[in-house]
Structure formats: structure tokens, C-alpha cells
């Protein structure tokens, strides 16, 4: 178990994956978005309620690895009570944060400890599709609104 791995699976990721705060089991809601990774079959359903252009509630169900699960959970947190405009900015920030091709350092992008926990994904580009699973799906959805 080496250092890079340790920083990929930071405490925040492991604990969020084990005990996610925004996961719901069998909701009555119809999913707003489906986030699907064809490479591994992981799939989350996002339930997003927006009122007056503001995220009122975000929840998710489904299955995925600890990285995809934790990142989706963190996303729900990060977007709650933000406007759609703000939300899109946060999504872009996150996507750049995990992008190994980005020239901007993670710390320059954000000081959110929750988001920064995923910066190590830059060293694991093959896990990018895990880290961005929920985020990419929601972004596409918001852009289509």
C-alpha cells in the first residue's frame, strides 16, 4: 500500500463511500439523471430538485466504487442550496481538479477540503471516469435545461 494510493483513498473518500450522507435506498422520486460508466457497469441515479433556479435537494441511489460513490456524495453536498449557475462553476472546478492534463494546481482551484480529497485522481487517470461519474452526468443534464 503506497503513498499515492493512500492519498487517493483519503479518509474523506473512504468514510463518505462507507457512510454516504446523500444516498437514499428506494426513493419514491423518479430519477432526474442516470450516471452510467460503460467500462465497469457502475450506475447512479441522481434525484435533483430545483426551485427558483436553486438546488433544493440532491440525493442519489445506485452502485459504484468508493471513488464514484464518495464523489457523488460530495457533489450533492457541494451543490445544495447553490444556484444552477454556481453549481455549474463548482462542477467545472471539480472536473479540472481531477484532470491530469490541467496546468492549474488543485489548491489554486479550491480550498474545499472535501473537493481537494479527489485531487489525487490526477495520478490515476484511469479512475477519472469514477471520480467524475455523477458530475459529468449532472453537468450534461444542467446544460440541456
Amino acid at each position: 500500500m503506497n503513498k499515492a494510493l493512500q492519498s487517493l483513498y483519503k479518509e474523506v473518500i473512504l468514510s463518505r463511500a462507507k457512510v454516504p450522507r446523500y444516498e437514499c435506498k428506494a426513493p419514491d422520486l423518479v430519477p432526474t439523471v442516470e450516471a452510467y460508466n460503460p467500462l465497469c457497469g457502475d450506475k447512479f441515479y441522481l434525484y435533483v430538485s430545483i426551485e427558483d433556479g436553486v438546488f433544493k435537494e440532491l440525493k442519489f441511489s445506485g452502485f459504484g466504487c468508493s471513488i464514484s460513490k464518495a464523489s457523488t456524495d460530495v457533489m450533492c453536498d457541494a451543490l445544495s442550496h447553490k444556484t444552477i449557475q454556481e453549481g455549474l462553476l463548482i462542477i467545472d472546478t471539480f472536473l479540472e481538479l481531477i484532470d491530469d492534463k490541467s496546468s492549474v494546481s488543485p489548491e489554486q482551484l479550491t480550498d474545499s477540503k472535501e473537493l481537494l480529497a479527489f485531487a489525487a485522481a490526477r495520478d490515476f487517470p484511469e479512475r477519472k471516469t469514477c471520480a467524475n461519474l455523477g458530475w459529468e452526468a449532472l453537468r450534461l443534464h444542467l446544460q440541456s435545461l
Binding site: M1, N2, C40, G41, D42, C65, I67, R127
Partner: protein, 406 residues
């Protein structure tokens, strides 16, 4: 078989991985590593005799043409084909199956009867048939599996009561490693007037292949899963079927005469080989076959079987590990499993940092995943250079990963 000597022939193992560990390569069902003899054969081809085959009257074209003839013969022998013209060079299994599905069901030849594939097929032996059946407006059905992941022979017999044009099955699953009784499947298909296509992707490096004993109509494999190069594969078909079949593709080398209104085609094997062949691939494939024959496929099989048993035993000792499917006597050395509370991708990432390469995901077998009620699993697949020590090390690290993630 001397493991050390074998491993020393594979240059990739002579270096450390970027994390400073020895490479423990356990994703052989995806692609195998390549021995020196294969790498050298390809380089030597380009260095000393590169030219196009079948066309020029000059050296080196004449040499290449002769080699292709000889290698075709050698491959025919390797798979037990009656005649060299029954060996068609393709670019791999996916390429072969797509072209075959179109040649059989496309064009003017009208076939009747449903198309069957088994529930354990790789997407490459599933989707081309599904699409061809749809295109030909034929029913497409999946032969159910038993709880242990084998083909349900009773259900198969039941399905065959309906008119059937073709049955496509793998010699062994790339997920469970479970092997199929091809001779029997073939006999039953033939009794119903159906063609039998065998996807031997997983069998070719691990067990003897004898197409006449199998009595199949078609058989395909890829070189890269048998110590050979990427971009080359073999399609076997019986002479009687190949000679009537629509050409697999059209173009240079397979044409008899071209007119604006029509085109006629050359005899076998050229009929099905359009365009410049992957000549370096063919030469590399020959070296790979020679490598296998030198070790002896029976020796490889014995070695891998012993490791396979060890692997299952060790995995079964780990609590929370559930192996998919039950071992059969025809299996290939592939074991897939789930670990309670640990996602396969997390497991694979953990092991990767220890230099251990295993695969996580659906392994291009989503229908089989659905059969087992999962979306993904971890897979360990062995080759002739695998060792008991590697298996011990892998299971040890697997336990550590469980402790870390749980």
C-alpha cells in the same frame, strides 16, 4: 516445463513496474505478454524480408508469399483443420465475427431460423449476431445458463426445437473460465440443421484445439491472447461452407474479375482475404504457435490447472470472497469473484499499486453479469508464466485490501 526459463523469455518481466515492484501479470484473459521469439519474428520480418504477399515476382515478395502459404499450413495443423484453405487470416475475433455474421446473414443469401448465443458470451460473440439477426428479421435468443454458470443443456435442447440457423458459443468463458462441451453442442446444433460457431478466444493458449473433433462449422481466435501480436486472428471454416459463403470482405487480392456490372471472386483461401494482410502479424502468430508447441500445450495445461486449483482454494479461504461459477473439467485458467463490501475497481487499484495486474469490470460480458445478478467483478487469469508464488502474493494483498476498504 521450467517456469524460470519460460519467464526469462518474456522481456516485460525483466523490468520493475513504475511503482518499483515486480510485475505480477494476471490479466491474461485480456491479452497475454509476448515472448522474445514473437517480438524478434516481427522485427526480423520488417528488417529482412518486408514486402506485400501474393503479388510481386521479386524478392522479398516471393519469400513473403511462400511464408504465408507455409504458415497457413502450420496453423491448419495446429487447429486440426483438414486443409490449409480452411484457415482464413483475420484481424482478430471481433473482426472475424462481425464479418462472419454479415457474410452469413447479409447479402442475398436468405437464411431461415432463429439465432442462438449462450448467456456466457463476450459482447463480441453476442452483439454481431444480435444485429445480424435483427437485420435478417430472425429471432435472436440467449441460451440460459445454470446456477453454476454453465450452459443449460436441457434449455438448449428445448430451444433447438424451433428452426435454428446458427448457434454461437465460446469454447470457454472469459469470466468464469467454464468450458463448453463443443462436440455435444455441435452435434445437437447440426441435428437441428444449424451452423455452429465457436469463439475459441480463451481456449487457444490453454488447451488443444481440434476443430474436426469439435465438428464445428466455424472457429475463431485472436493471436494476442496466445502470446502473439495484436491485429491478427484466424477464422476457421469448413471447406464446404467457406466455398459457398459470401466473401468476408471485398477488395484487392480476392477478386477474379471486376466489371462495372459485376465482380467475381477467387478460390479459397483468397476469396475471404481482401486487402493487404497483417503480414507481420501472421509471422508473429507463427512464432507464438511455435512457442506454445515448444512448451507443449499439455504441459502448459497441467501447469495452469494446478495453479487454477491453488487459486480457487486460496480465494475460497478468504471470507467475503464469492467465486462466480463452478469449476468444470474443461475450464480455462480464469477465476472471477466478488468481495463483500469492496468494489472490484477499488480492489484492482489497490493491487495495481503492488504491481499486481487484475481486471475489474463486466469483462464485456454484461449478459453473464446479469445472470449472476451483479454489475462487475474482479478477475484473475493465468498463463504459462504464472506461478504459485504470484498467487500467494496476490491473495495476501487481496486480504490487505479488504482490511483497508472495509
Amino acid at each position: 516445463m521450467n517456469l524460470e526459463s519460460i519467464k526469462s523469455q518474456f522481456p516485460i518481466f525483466q523490468q520493475k513496474t513504475p511503482v518499483g515492484k515486480e510485475l505480477v501479470y494476471l490479466d491474461n484473459a485480456s491479452t497475454t505478454q509476448k515472448p522474445d521469439c514473437v517480438i524478434d519474428a516481427i522485427a526480423d520480418f520488417y528488417k529482412f524480408s518486408n514486402a506485400n504477399a501474393g503479388r510481386g515476382v521479386y524478392w522479398p515478395a516471393t519469400e513473403v508469399t511462400g511464408r504465408v502459404v507455409d504458415i497457413r499450413q502450420r496453423l491448419a495443423k495446429f487447429i486440426g483443420a483438414a486443409r490449409p484453405e480452411e484457415v482464413v487470416f483475420t484481424h482478430g475475433v471481433t473482426d472475424a465475427l462481425n464479418k462472419l455474421a454479415l457474410a452469413i446473414f447479409g447479402g442475398s443469401q436468405k437464411r431461415e431460423g432463429q439465432v442462438l448465443v449462450s448467456g456466457m458470451e463476450h459482447h463480441s460473440n453476442f452483439v454481431p449476431w444480435q444485429m445480424a439477426a435483427r437485420h435478417g428479421s430472425l429471432p435472436f435468443k440467449v441460451i440460459p445458463l445454470t446456477d453454476s454458470g454453465a450452459i443449460d443443456m436441457e434449455a438448449y435442447a428445448q430451444l433447438l426445437k424451433e428452426p435454428t440457423s446458427l448457434v454461437a458459443v465460446s469454447a470457454a468463458s472469459n469470466v468464469t473460465g467454464i468450458g463448453n462441451d463443443i462436440s455435444r453442442l455441435s452435434q445437437m446444433a447440426h441435428n437441428s440443421g444449424a451452423l455452429l460457431v465457436v469463439d475459441a478466444s480463451q481456449a487457444v493458449a490453454h488447451q488443444p484445439i481440434d476443430v474436426r473433433q469439435w465438428d464445428c462449422d466455424f472457429m475463431v481466435f485472436s493471436g494476442h491472447k496466445a502470446y502473439g501480436p495484436t491485429g491478427i486472428g484466424v477464422l476457421y471454416g469448413t471447406y464446404e461452407v467457406l466455398v459457398e459463403l459470401n466473401p468476408l470482405a471485398y477488395g484487392g487480392g480476392m477478386v477474379q474479375e471486376v466489371n462495372e456490372s459485376d465482380t467475381t471472386f477467387r478460390m479459397l483461401p483468397h476469396r475471404h482475404e481482401a486487402g493487404t494482410l497483417n503480414l507481420a502479424g501472421i509471422v508473429g502468430l507463427e512464432a507464438a504457435i511455435a512457442f506454445i508447441e515448444k512448451q507443449g500445450i499439455a504441459n502448459i495445461q497441467a501447469h495452469e490447472n494446478a495453479l487454477y486449483e491453488l487459486l480457487r482454494k486460496k480465494l475460497n479461504e478468504v471470507s467475503g470472497v464469492a467465486i462466480l461459477g463452478r469449476s468444470s473439467s474443461l475450464q480455462c485458467p480464469v477465476v472471477s469473484f466478488t468481495v463483500e463490501g469492496v468494489h472490484p475497481h477499488d480492489m484492482a487499484t489497490y493491487l495495481a499499486t503492488e504491481g499486481i495486474s487484475i481486471r475489474a469490470g463486466h469483462h464485456c460480458a454484461q449478459p453473464l453479469m446479469k445472470h449472476f445478478g451483479i454489475t462487475a467483478c474482479s478477475r484473475i487469469s493465468l498463463a504459462c508464466y504464472s506461478s504459485g508464488q504470484e498467487i500467494e502474493q496476490t491473495v495476501d494483498q487481496l486480504k490487505e485490501a479488504i482490511a483497508f476498504f472495509r
